[in-house]
Symmetry: C2
Subunit: 357 residues, 2 copies
């Protein structure tokens, strides 16, 4: 008697959501059958299927994703670990990832390391504790260094089996990766300057331990070489990172030289923003006094001067491709398949003075 009361208590309480057991009882079948109907994991007669679906409907049953994942070890959640949450570029990538995942019935964890490698690992670990199905990482780790940043074999294994890196990845790691053709696009931008006859061309870039910085730098040098222009070390400014501050510092440095450059290649959108601020402070007019080409578009270009010539990263495609690649990887269980490196192409957008030239 006691137990019966308890059971009915449970069924009465309106704040607790219905479980698979409630559905089974109402449909007059076993919980296992309900599970099979909902997951299409075994054939069931149309008759019982109908009963189950009806019960689901009347109870407004929604399955508990946690219990399901815990038991089946199959999660419908993907984590996205980014290293910055500042630029419109990353916002677009996030949007594409979120959209692609949700279209496939997945949810997204979002975490930001703010450029701290240790924090990045913490985020990955905490996502693992929540049994995510996989992770997309915009890493801030340039190189695996067992001394400075030990990574457990478990994490290492996870990074290889259930991750996709975007934009950049730690050098020497064999991982799936989605990025852009940094070298080629940089080459094209610098070539525009060279074709126009400029020879005193500067570069503002970040630390070349960063993959993207390194590749863009390489494109710059390649172009100079192809046009037989010797490198003037005074025109090379390489700051700590690809951020705004570095751009500002680069402007302060380059614009103070005895013979300033005629043209500058800026290796990122944030660098460009900082560089423009520096120009403004120094009273240098853009366009006019100096010619700029930049990697990555800057948001406001369509609205107001200056219209900068740049290459536009396919930010949406980057996110979409990364998400699709990860889902594919997770769903086909082949553990040992070869890693893939996808390079999407940037579009070089020619604006302003170049149109006249």
């Amino acid at each position: 008697m006691e137990s019966k009361v308890k059971i009915s208590m449970k069924k009465e309480s309106r704040d607790s959501k219905p479980t698979i057991v409630d559905v089974a009882r109402l449909a007059g079948v076993s919980p296992a059958t309900v599970s099979h109907v909902l997951n299409k994991t075994k054939r069931v007669t149309p008759e019982t299927e109908e009963k189950v679906l009806q019960a689901v409907k009347t109870l407004r049953y929604q399955k508990n994703a946690l219990a399901s994942t815990l038991r089946s070890r199959n999660s419908q959640v993907i984590g996205f670990v980014t290293s910055q949450l500042h630029s419109i570029f990353w916002l677009r990538v996030i949007r594409a990832v979120e959209y692609t995942l949700s279209q496939n019935g997945y949810q997204m964890f979002l975490g930001c390391s703010y450029g701290d490698p240790a924090r990045e690992l913490e985020l990955i670990e905490s996502m693992l504790q929540s049994m995510v199905g996989g992770v997309i990482i915009a890493t801030c780790i340039n190189e695996i260094n067992e001394k400075e940043l030990p990574i457990s074999p478990q994490i290492m294994n996870f990074l290889e089996e259930r991750c996709v890196f975007v934009d950049t990845y730690p050098s020497g790691m064999n991982v799936d990766f989605v990025g852009v053709n940094n070298e080629e696009a940089s080459f094209q931008l610098v070539e525009l300057l060279l074709k126009k006859g400029y020879r005193r061309i500067a570069m503002v870039n970040g630390d070349s331990r960063i993959l993207t910085a390194r590749e863009r730098r390489s494109g710059f040098f390649k172009a100079l070489k192809e046009y037989a222009v010797s490198v003037d070390e005074r025109y090379i400014f390489e700051g700590k990172n690809l951020g705004k501050r570095t751009g500002l510092e680069g402007a302060n440095y380059l614009l103070s030289l005895d013979s300033p450059p005629e043209a500058v290649f800026l290796a990122s959108g944030n660098l460009t923003v900082g560089f423009l601020e520096g120009c403004r402070e120094k009273g240098v007019r853009i366009p006019g006094d100096i010619e700029l080409v930049g990697f990555d578009d800057i948001e406001w270009t369509p609205v107001i001067e200056p219209f900068l010539t740049c290459c536009v990263q396919p930010s949406w495609d980057i996110g979409e491709t990364a998400a699709s690649l990860l889902l594919e990887k997770i769903q086909e269980k082949k553990e040992g398949r070869a890693k893939r490196e996808v390079r999407l192409k940037c579009e070089v957008v020619i604006r302003n003075t170049f149109q006249k030239g």
Copy 2:
């Protein structure tokens, strides 16, 4: 014998992470005790505590968050449902929310409804299925309408008990809310125009079923009234939403009038971007031909002309306050406490022509 083999198999396999049982065994205590040590949920002698912590360390044990949440009904995950993922404003809010949550040991789900109310509800439901502890919502639902968009009592209850709305909320709902002083800030902006002597002042705004649009509109009218300026209906342009396109349409309309306005109040940052595009197309110079004040700053203002006078929303504070409020609400179990409405103040930034005036 058979079972023993199985057990040892289990312990050998290196791909499975250690469980609380493994820790308990190694420390020579029961799983319950390990749980109590880790969660500080009961007093334990320092001696056994030490043993447990040691075992945790050597096994590199990390507790399974899913199992923990499933059993304790206490989740460390918060969902953020946004209605758009386009502007830098929302990026900042997201950043603040993510940061605040992670500082408190929480993880964040991110979902975007893209302005579709039905999708918004789906997102909330799927988060509920994952047993999130609470949700922060930038809603696109202006009004509860049982006919068009039925909301189950369960969801309704959840929205009231474990949610915080940001930026706007459905009219008539009694919920926790974090927003800004839309009316007051708009008043101040329009007052700047009035004090400078303008009388032919226009407004570009979104549909006033949207809370923010309504309040900003109200501030506009209040200012005109206070300065005894009668409203000229031709100068009121109210489009569908607060987006860029509406701003462009507003520019096309207002700049084509026989006697165009001398000054315009733009009720959002995106409206401003669109309006500027319209000005550019029509060859109207800003600043110069027409005076603008805008609600919400636009990203590039510090770098390039035009420097617009505007009010800056405290986007970081909005996100941080919303997250803190939600965590507080969840942690203090008082179910029936009064709802709170927090209004943060915008900073009016006076730039350009106003400085000379």
